[in-house]
Symmetry: C2
Subunit: 501 residues, 2 copies
């Protein structure tokens, strides 16, 4: 796999000096076209061996390219902000928007490989990390990103020579660290891990390019040309009319039964009983979130439901129990311009809270499986792949000990009509009812189907949906509060258990 | 994930009896259209819990569908023929060709799940199997197959009820085995593994469909309708004009150096020395293949190279050392009609030998990366994804202790001209030189690029390419023979080691 990158590739100074001005001009032009068309983002990874020139390449590319349209990311040790969130969060926040280029010196490969080399993790952990990397890159290319992965390589002899020559020169001695020599001793082991990483994550859409790192002129010119040609190729590609997926259709419903119909909407709670229960569970939640161990966990609660099902009311009964400094409510409406220039899940990743915090989403990433699907705002292929992307997103959250509470609030069609009419009558509630609500109501059955598919495909053991019978508001609010308490309690107990053991 | 399949779906007899004739007619019609257009194959997996009706469904579908266009596969315990080859071989040989339908009762999921449930394998092994499953299904859908994966589910209560009622009736008692009850006891553990399997292998192109298995009428009608609608949807989809991949281009060559140029073609071997070496290594190979432990391994040797580089001659020097009963030479030419109706790698999978055998491919699956790429016989997206498919194919072979010897024989452009002219002069060699050879010669540089990319992307630690300097035939033949001997010897030693330990 590294054969071509151990041949001693070289470019002489004259050739290099002649080629660079033309390349820089072409690169700038491509960047400008990309920025103006804002057709796609460019994600560049610089990976590879110590001393193979990753840092120099990053600096050079930054010099060659228009700084307004490119951003370099060192991605060294994660900050405490970053450690408080799932590993991928730091990459999501650094993704370039459409029209721009992001260059990553460290990437989603760096730590999984290092941890494996240093024996911190097992082979199985590395495999899982590689699966996560593949899924992330598949999402990026599905969303239209150009992903360029460069692997800078040095043969064993060359690496030794380079480290020694750097050490000899007092001016460069500081660049050789103890870690560099440790890695050199592990060369063969590393090479074998690297090969496996490259093989498992070279896909047709996001292949690795292995570049010999020895000669700076060769490596710079090759990478520069490659970036230019890739952007050009993609810019000049004919815009393909998107076509529907030719995957099988979803399950036909041949009886009238589905999960929503199976709910018993006649469950009631009287006002008096409600007030007692409310006090009980709000008190409990208040205590739980003030528990010292709560600082180690995170809560994400997420509300979807029929229009007028009482999402807002339920949310207020949760926030009513919380210290204002620890929670945030994120109302999800149409994406902003900045959000539209990013992959679909970006606008939710940006709100993933730190440890010790609670974030409540009023509507959520499931919009893609609900309104966007039903209204045709996205392609079938988009919402079909989103089931997997969402499962992976939530899996990353729960792996990070985040409590995931997912609520679907259900009311009957008749109850909705009643509530709509009430809202129209009541002055201060009138703003809550719009033409769109009435239009959505006409597509009741399509929405019901979409909800059933959504629950079937995204209710998982560790991030299950809670379906809430919301015909009676009191009943619904208590069920929500109680569920949140239970989930937090379970998580705190698990924390204790894993500490005890 | 199983919520919708635990609701107690039911279809009454009258509805069922009314629906079935129309469904059967529609199914037959779709099958006929599919068979006549031969547009794509249909692969149906029936998986799920014991007692959820997989077997009955298989029988019913076979009854409903036209037996000329459908084939059922039980896929129980593998035969000794199958055990002698990598696990996936049995599925490759059973794949339906374009226009036909294959229904699999057991699948590439069955044994990985069973082995995990029974504690034979670790979680990491299951993860690897799931990756393999995903890659296989991606290959199938990339090749145009319609993949329908049904998961028949029963709730815990329902499964117990069903097993008990089968046991009560003397006519059905035989259908309940000890294993069924063992599995029932593991219900919760199983459900958790199943959920993980379904989540990790539900993709947009090949999603799982979870079906409640309790009511035979509900389950049959749902699956029947689903199959009909899926085939119809795909048949009626507009034929999409294939477009090129918008992936980055391959590495530009900015110096003149590449792996083929780096070979020293001036290496010589005199005839006398050759004859001595030939006897030595043929003798060695003869002994190695007669070693009793050789019965436990398999050898696949594969030859690619420039036209007239001497592939045939090298192959004959290997076969000259072998017992005719253990080897087979597979010359790879244009695919047959039957082969064209299958995924690309199918025609190579069919020749994977049993243990104790040697198969020599004269040209190979790398045709896709060489002639098909250079001559434009396939799309860029096809040969780009083929690198990964081939790596996965070979990884399965080496995991099964198959010795992989991959040879590229290189001669210079001048030497080729000399040999072409000689062939034209010599009567019995004239058949070996065709117009096509002269045409290929004109694309020398394009082929060289393709070879370099191929070696870079498919030379792996366990299945490396051996580049052979073939300017001197004697030198080349000895290098090939010696390499084969070394690879076989290493494998036999490893066998011994793993037995000793």
């Amino acid at each position: 796999m590294f054969e071509s990158a151990e041949l001693g590739h070289k470019i002489d100074k004259a050739t290099y000096d002649k080629a660079v001005p033309a390349l820089r001009e072409a690169l700038l032009e491509a960047q400008l076209d990309l920025s103006q068309s804002a057709k796609f983002p460019v994600v560049i990874l610089l990976s590879g061996l110590d001393g193979a020139g990753r840092g120099e390449t990053l600096n050079l590319l930054n010099e060659w390219m228009d700084p307004r349209h490119v951003q370099a990311h060192g991605m060294g040790e994660p900050s405490d902000e970053e450690l408080d969130r799932p590993m991928m969060w730091r990459f999501w926040r650094a993704l370039p928007p459409k029209g721009k280029t992001g260059i990553f010196l460290g990437s989603w490969y760096t730590w999984p490989i290092l941890n494996r080399v240093n024996g911190v993790t097992k082979l199985a952990d590395l495999d899982q990390s590689l699966e996560r990397a593949r899924l992330l890159e598949k999402m990026l290319t599905d969303e239209g990103a150009l992903v360029l992965k460069f692997w800078l390589h040095l043969s064993k002899d060359k690496q030794e020579k380079r480290l020694k020559s750097l050490e000899k020169d007092p001016k460069t001695r500081w660049r050789v660290t103890e870690r560099d020599w440790q890695h050199f001793k592990l060369y063969d082991k590393l090479a074998s891990i690297h090969e496996s990483v490259i093989r498992h994550t070279s896909t047709a859409e996001a292949p690795w390019f292995i570049i010999e790192g020895e000669d700076p002129r060769y490596r710079s010119l090759t990478i520069g040309k490659m970036i230019h040609e890739s952007i050009r190729k993609r810019l000049d590609a004919p815009t393909v009319k998107p076509v529907g997926l030719s995957a099988p259709p979803l399950l036909p419903s041949i009886d009238k039964l589905h999960i929503l119909k199976a709910l018993r909407l006649d469950q009631k709670l009287e006002k008096k009983a409600y007030e007692i229960e409310l006090e009980k569970y709000q008190g409990k939640l208040a205590l739980l979130t003030r528990d010292p161990r709560f600082k180690e966990i995170t809560v994400i609660a997420m509300f979807e439901g029929n229009d007028a099902a009482g999402k807002g009311g339920s949310i207020r009964r949760i926030t009513g129990a919380l210290d204002a400094r620890i929670y945030q409510v994120v109302p999800v409406a149409a994406p902003t311009e900045e959000e539209r220039a990013q992959p679909y899940l970006w606008r939710f990743w940006r709100h993933v809270p730190r440890r010790g915090k609670v974030t409540i989403f009023d509507r959520s990433w499931y919009g893609r499986e609900l309104v966007e699907r039903v209204e045709g705002f996205c392609l079938e292929s988009d919402w079909m792949r989103a089931y997997g992307e969402i499962n992976e997103f939530e899996a990353q959250l729960v792996r990070h000990n985040i409590v995931m509470a997912k609520f679907w609030l259900t009311i009957s069609k008749e109850e909705q009509l009643k509530r709509f009419k009430e809202r129209e009558k009541t002055g201060f509630k009138r703003y809550k009812i719009t033409d769109e609500d009435w239009r959505n109501r006409e597509k009741w059955d399509a929405y019901e189907n979409a909800v059933c598919d959504m629950v079937d495909r995204t209710s998982t053991e560790r991030a299950p949906w809670t379906l809430v019978e919301a015909e009676n508001k009191y009943y619904a609010r208590i069920k929500v509060l109680k569920t949140v308490c239970e989930l937090v309690e379970t998580q705190l107990k698990q924390l204790k258990k894993s500490k005890d053991s």
